[in-house]
C-alpha cells in the first residue's frame, strides 16, 4: 500500500518534471517573474494613503502647542446693513406697523392678500383644536396626517398633475428635489439668475453645472450643442448621463418670465428634462393661477417637475413639488428635506387648503392682481435715478439705481435712504438682501416693490408718487 503510494508519488513527480521540460520558454519566464514579484510584495513595507510623515513626538507636541485657530466668527461691524432688522409689530398684512410706524405694506409677498383672510384663519383654528400645533415626527414615523394627504391631493388636482409631494419649508423644497434626481456626473443647465435655493440644491447634488446667460436661448442652445459633440465622443457615458434644464417661472432676482415654449422645443430637440421653479408665478400667472404653464398654454405633462413654495400666494409655510407619479414618487424616499425632517404643522396645511379653496372660487383675482402690477409698473417709469426691473405683470419688481456710485456699499446706503424716506411717509419697502460672497452671479443692489391684490389704486398711485419724491430728494 505504502509502496504503491510511493510509486504514485514518484509518478506525479516525474510528470511534473516532464511538464517543466516541455513547457514553452515564455511561460517559464512569466511564472518566474510572477514568483519574484510576489516575494518582493511580501517583503516590502505597506504604505498608507494618509501621509505618515516623520515627525518626532516632540515636534508634534510643539506644532500642537503653537497652532492658533481663527476666531469662530469674524467680528461684525455695528452698522452692517443687514444686522439691525426692522421689527414688525403685529401681522405683516396690508397695513403693517414697522418699527412703530404704520405703513402700507409693499414688501411682503402676500400677493393674494390671504394672510389676513378670515376663512383661512378659521380653518387654521379648527385644525389647531383638533391636532395641536406640531406633528412630532417625520412623514415616515406617524407624522403623516390626513390634512397632509388632503393638501397633496388638492394641489395635484389644482395643478392638474398626477401627484404632488409636500415639504415643510419653502427653501428646502427645491434644495431637496434637485439632489434626489441629479447626481454626480449628471449635467444641469441652469439660468444665471437662479435663486439661492436652486444654487444650494445644485451644490448638494455634485452635478456638473453649466450656466447660461439669463433668458438667452441662443446661449443655452450653444451649450446644448457643445454637450452633444461631447456625447458623440463617448456614447457609452452619454447613455447614462442625465441632463436637466432648470428655470424659474418668474425670476425672483430680476422679475422676468422664462421663455417656456422655446425651452420645451429645446427639451425635445436635445432630450433634456425640464424642472421648473414656480415660487413667484404660482397663484399669479395663468387664467386660474396655475402658473407659467397655464400662462403659455403648455401641456403640464411636458414639464418633468414643477416646484413651488406656499409662502407667497398661499400665505402659509412650506412648499410642494408636482408632476407625474413616475417622477414625484421617487422623492418620498430620497428627498432629504422630506424623509429626515418633521412634517408641516397641520394648522398650516389646513390654512393652505382653505387658501386653495379661495383661489379656486375666485379666479378673477389673478386678473385683478395683474392689472395692479401693470398700473404700478407704468407709474414707476421715468423716475429719474431709478430703473424698474421686471415684467409689467410681475408682482415682485426691483428698483435699481440708474447710475451706480461705483461701490456696492454706497449704492446700498443710497437705497437705504430712499427706503427710510418712504417708510417715514407710510410706505413700507425693503431692500433685496443677498449674501454677497455666496451668490454665483450677484444681482445689483435694489429695492423690492411687491404688489398685492389688497392695495387700492389710490394707494398704488400714492406709493409711486412718494417713491418719485424720495428718489428726487436723495439722489439729487
Amino acid at each position: 500500500m505504502m509502496a504503491a503510494a510511493g510509486v504514485g508519488q514518484q509518478w506525479v513527480l516525474v510528470e511534473m518534471v516532464q511538464a517543466f521540460y516541455e513547457a514553452p520558454a515564455y511561460h517559464l519566464i512569466l511564472e518566474g517573474i510572477l514568483i519574484l514579484w510576489i516575494i518582493r510584495l511580501l517583503f516590502s513595507k505597506t504604505y498608507k494613503l494618509q501621509e505618515r510623515s516623520d515627525l518626532t513626538p516632540k515636534e508634534k507636541e510643539e506644532l500642537i502647542e503653537e497652532w492658533q485657530p481663527e476666531p469662530l466668527v469674524p467680528p461684525v461691524s455695528k452698522d452692517h446693513p443687514a444686522l439691525n432688522y426692522s421689527v414688525v409689530s403685529g401681522p405683516p398684512s396690508h397695513k403693517i406697523i414697522v418699527n412703530g410706524k404704520e405703513c402700507i405694506n409693499f414688501a411682503s409677498f402676500n400677493f393674494l392678500g390671504l394672510l389676513d383672510n378670515e376663512r383661512v384663519k378659521n380653518a387654521a383654528q379648527a385644525s389647531l383644536k383638533k391636532y395641536g400645533v406640531g406633528t412630532c415626527g417625520p412623514r415616515g414615523f406617524y407624522g403623516t396626517f390626513d390634512v397632509h394627504l388632503e393638501l397633496e391631493d388638492r394641489l395635484a388636482k389644482f395643478m392638474r398633475t398626477e401627484e404632488s409631494i409636500m415639504y415643510s419649508y419653502g427653501f428646502a423644497t427645491i434644495a431637496s428635489a434637485i439632489p434626489a434626481y441629479s447626481k454626480r456626473g449628471d449635467i444641469v443647465f441652469v439660468d444665471e439668475a437662479a435663486c439661492f435655493a436652486i444654487q444650494k440644491g445644485l451644490q448638494a447634488s455634485r452635478s456638473n453645472i453649466k450656466l447660461f446667460k439669463h433668458n438667452d436661448m441662443a446661449d443655452l442652445e450653444q451649450l446644448l450643442k457643445e454637450q452633444e459633440l461631447e456625447d458623440q465622443k463617448n456614447p457609452r457615458k452619454a447613455r447614462v448621463t442625465r441632463r436637466f434644464i432648470l428655470a424659474e417661472g418668474l425670476y425672483m432676482n430680476t422679475g422676468d418670465i422664462c421663455p417656456l415654449p422655446e425651452l420645451i422645443k429645446l427639451k425635445y430637440k436635445y432630450k433634456v428634462r425640464i424642472f421648473l421653479e414656480e415660487s413667484l408665478s404660482f397663484g399669479v400667472l395663468g387664467e386660474h393661477g396655475r402658473g407659467v404653464t397655464e400662462h403659455f398654454g403648455i401641456n403640464i405633462d411636458d414639464i418633468d417637475l414643477i416646484s413651488a413654495n406656499m409662502e407667497n400666494s398661499l400665505a402659509s409655510i412650506g412648499g410642494f413639488c408636482c408632476g407625474r407619479s413616475f417622477v414625484i414618487d421617487h422623492q418620498r424616499l430620497s428627498g432629504q428635506g422630506y424623509c429626515f425632517s418633521a412634517s408641516l404643522p397641520p394648522l398650516l396645511a389646513a390654512a393652505a387648503i382653505e387658501a386653495l379653496n379661495i383661489m379656486e372660487e375666485n379666479p378673477d383675482i389673478f386678473q385683478v392682481l395683474r392689472e395692479k402690477c401693470k398700473r404700478i409698473h407704468k407709474a414707476l417709469q421715468r423716475i429719474s435715478g431709478l430703473v424698474v426691473v421686471g415684467e409689467s405683470f410681475s408682482p415682485a419688481l426691483h428698483l435699481q439705481l440708474e447710475e451706480t456710485t461705483g461701490s456696492r456699499e454706497n449704492d446700498m446706503k443710497l437705497l437705504k435712504r430712499i427706503v427710510d424716506y418712504c417708510m417715514n411717509r407710510g410706505i413700507a419697502l425693503t431692500q433685496a438682501r443677498y449674501l454677497e460672497k455666496e451668490e454665483k452671479c450677484l444681482p445689483p443692489p435694489s429695492i423690492r416693490v411687491v404688489v398685492t391684490v389688497e392695495q387700492t389704486e389710490q394707494e398704488l398711485d400714492n406709493a409711486a408718487l412718494i417713491i418719485r419724491e424720495a428718489a428726487q430728494s436723495v439722489l439729487n
Binding site: Q50, E51, W67, P69, L72, V73, V76, H80, A82, Y85, V87, G90, P91, P92, I96, L115, K121, L128, K129, K130, Y131, V133, G134, T135, C136, G137, R139, F141, G143, D146, L149, Y169, F171, A172, Y181, F196, A197, V240, T241, R243, Y268, K271, R273, N312, A315, S316, I317, F326, D329, R332, Q336, C339, A342, L344, P345, L348, T430, A432, R433, R448
Partner: protein
C-alpha cells in the same frame, strides 16, 4: 480621564453569532427572490406595478438606474405598510390611525374610511407631552393665530422679523443661560444653512460617525474637509485632532483655519448620549470649536430639561454653538442656534436662512414660548418640572423592564430614545404589524437608516405616558418577544441590583 459625577451607563451588547448568520441569510433570500421577481417582471410574467416614463420621453436618458431602486422595489416594498401610517388626531400619548388596506401586496393602499382609535403612541417625538389640544393650554396660541394669521411671506432680513421672534429669541437665550439666540423656521434647515456660514474651505470638520443627515449635508455644503471619528469614541477623536493639527491641510500642509467638532446630544438611532465632559476637555486642549446638536436632548434630559449641558452639570459657555430643534420636546416646529452675542450677530447677517428663507410663523412661535415658559416655571405652575421628572421616571422604568425581560436595548439608561434590536429582516414587518394588532403604534427602522445587520424598533418614551400605558406596552412586548424569539440578551439584569455589586461601565471601543 474625566470621571463623571453620575453613573454613565451605556450598553451596546452584541447578539450571539447565529443571529448575524440568520440575518444575512434572510437578506440573501430576499435578494434572490428580488432578482427572480425582476426577471419575471422584465419578461412579462408578472404584472409591473411601477409607474413608467411617458411615451414621448421613452428615448430620453432614463431617470433612474434599475439597480439603484433594487432594494426599494424588492425588499422595502414588502413591508412598506409599516411606515407613513397616516393619523387623524393629535400625536399625543394615544392617537387614532387611519385604517389602510392593500389589495396588491403594498403597491397601492386604499383607506377603508375607518379609524383605529386610541392606539398607544410609542413613535412620535413627544418627550414632554406638549402635543395636546387642551383649550386652556392653547389659548395664547389661538389668540396669536387670530391676530397674526399663519403666513409671514418674507425673510428675516427683509420684512419677516416679527415681534414674536424677538420675544422668542430672548426667551430661548434665557432658557439656555447664554448671551443670545436666533430661531429658524425648520430644524433640518438650521443645520444645513448655518454650518456653511460658520466654516468654509480651509477648515476642518470632525463629525461623529452617526450624525444626522442634516449635519452631514451642512458639512458637505460648507466645502470644508470632513473627517469622521468613531461613534462617541474619544481616543479616535483625539487621534484625529492631533494628526490634523500636526500635519495641517492635505498636500499643502498649511495650518487649518478652524477645527469644528460636530456632535449630537442624543443620537436618535442609538439612544446614546454624547460624552460631553470629555469632548469639552479635548476641545479646550486642542483649541477646536464645538457644535452641539441637541435636537433630541433639549427638554428631554437634565434635571430641569435644559439638555445635555445641564445633564453633565457643565457650563453652557463651554460649548461654542448650541443648536437644537423645537419639534421634539416643545411640540412645535423650527430650530435655534444659541451662544455668544458675536456668534448670533454673525448669523443674523450671514446665515442663508435669514437672508433667503421665510421666518417662523407666529402661532408656532407662540407655542414654543408657552411651552418654554411652562418648562421654566414662568407660568406660575410646577407643571414643567413635573413633566421633566415624569419623563425621566418613565424612561428609567421602561428601560429597566426591557432589560429585565431580556431584550437587547441600545443606548444610555437616561435617554428617552429606546432602540430595541430586531436584527432579522423578517421580524421587522412581523413586529410592527403584530404590535398594531394589539393597538400599539411602534416605529421600526431598517437599512439604510441603520447598518444592514442591525434593524431595530425604536420607542420614544413621553412624559404623557401613564404607568398603565407603559405596562400595556411592556406586556405586549413580553408576549411578542417570546413569540418572535427576540430576547437575545445574555445579560438579563435582575430587578434588584442593590443586592449585588455590578460595575456600571460597559465601554465598547
Amino acid at each position: 480621564f474625566f470621571c463623571y459625577f453620575l453613573p454613565f451607563n451605556e450598553h451596546f451588547e452584541q447578539a450571539p453569532m447565529y443571529v448575524a448568520v440568520f440575518t444575512y441569510l434572510g437578506f440573501g433570500v430576499g435578494t434572490l427572490f428580488g432578482y427572480l421577481r425582476d426577471f419575471m417582471r422584465a419578461w412579462g410574467l408578472e404584472k409591473c406595478h411601477l409607474a413608467t416614463e411617458r411615451e414621448e420621453q421613452k428615448d430620453f436618458v432614463p431617470l433612474y438606474q434599475d439597480f439603484e431602486n433594487f432594494y426599494t422595489r424588492n425588499l422595502y416594498m414588502r413591508i412598506r405598510d409599516n411606515w407613513n401610517r397616516p393619523i387623524c388626531s393629535v400625536p399625543g400619548p394615544q392617537f387614532d390611525l387611519m385604517e389602510r388596506v392593500t389589495d396588491d401586496f403594498n403597491w397601492t393602499f386604499r383607506f377603508t374610511g375607518r379609524c383605529i382609535k386610541d392606539v398607544i403612541n410609542m413613535g412620535s417625538y413627544n418627550y414632554l407631552g406638549f402635543a395636546e389640544t387642551d383649550a386652556n393650554a392653547l389659548k395664547t396660541v389661538a389668540d396669536v393665530l387670530q391676530r397674526y394669521g399663519t403666513g409671514v411671506c418674507s425673510t428675516r432680513q427683509e420684512m419677516g422679523n416679527i415681534d414674536k421672534h424677538v420675544e422668542l429669541e430672548n426667551l430661548v437665550a434665557r432658557f439656555l443661560d447664554v448671551e443670545a439666540a436666533m430661531v429658524f423656521g425648520m430644524g433640518f434647515a438650521t443645520n444645513s444653512m448655518n454650518i456653511p456660514a460658520l466654516v468654509g474651505k480651509g477648515c476642518l470638520i470632525l463629525s461623529d460617525e452617526l450624525n444626522h443627515t442634516s449635519l452631514v449635508l451642512g458639512a458637505r455644503l460648507s466645502g470644508a474637509t470632513i473627517r469622521v471619528f468613531k461613534h462617541n469614541n474619544m481616543q479616535s477623536l483625539e487621534k484625529l485632532l492631533r494628526d490634523a493639527i500636526a500635519h495641517g491641510q492635505p498636500r499643502s500642509h498649511r495650518a487649518w483655519k478652524k477645527i469644528l467638532i460636530l456632535v449630537e446630544g442624543i443620537y436618535s438611532m442609538e439612544g446614546s448620549i454624547v460624552r460631553l465632559p470629555e469632548i469639552v476637555t479635548l476641545k479646550k486642549k486642542y483649541k477646536a470649536y464645538l457644535y452641539l446638536d441637541e435636537a433630541h436632548s433639549i427638554g428631554a434630559v437634565g434635571p430641569t430639561g435644559r439638555g445635555v449641558v445641564e445633564y453633565f452639570g457643565m457650563d453652557p459657555d463651554d460649548v461654542d454653538v448650541l443648536m437644537g430643534t423645537f419639534t421634539k420636546s416643545f411640540g412645535a416646529a423650527g430650530g435655534y442656534i444659541a451662544g455668544k452675542k458675536e456668534l448670533v450677530d454673525f448669523l443674523r447677517t450671514h446665515s442663508h436662512s435669514a437672508t433667503y428663507a421665510t421666518s417662523m410663523c407666529p402661532p408656532v412661535a407662540e407655542q414654543i414660548i408657552r411651552a418654554m415658559k411652562c418648562v421654566m416655571g414662568l407660568d406660575g405652575t410646577t407643571q414643567g418640572l413635573q413633566r421633566v421628572c415624569q419623563l425621566s421616571e418613565n424612561t428609567r422604568y421602561f428601560r429597566q423592564r426591557l432589560h429585565e425581560m431580556g431584550f437587547i436595548v441600545y443606548g444610555n439608561d437616561d435617554s428617552p430614545v429606546v432602540p430595541l434590536l430586531l436584527y432579522m429582516p423578517g421580524k421587522i414587518g412581523a413586529f410592527a404589524r403584530r404590535m398594531l394588532d394589539k393597538n400599539i403604534g411602534v416605529v421600526v427602522v431598517g437599512f439604510p437608516a441603520t447598518p444592514i445587520g442591525e434593524s431595530r424598533a425604536r420607542f420614544c418614551v413621553s412624559a404623557a405616558h401613564t404607568r398603565e400605558m407603559l405596562d400595556t406596552v411592556l406586556n405586549a412586548l413580553d408576549e411578542l418577544g417570546d413569540f418572535l424569539h427576540l430576547k437575545y440578551s445574555r445579560h438579563s439584569r435582575s430587578s434588584h441590583p442593590e443586592l449585588y455589586n455590578e460595575t456600571s461601565f460597559e465601554l465598547e471601543d
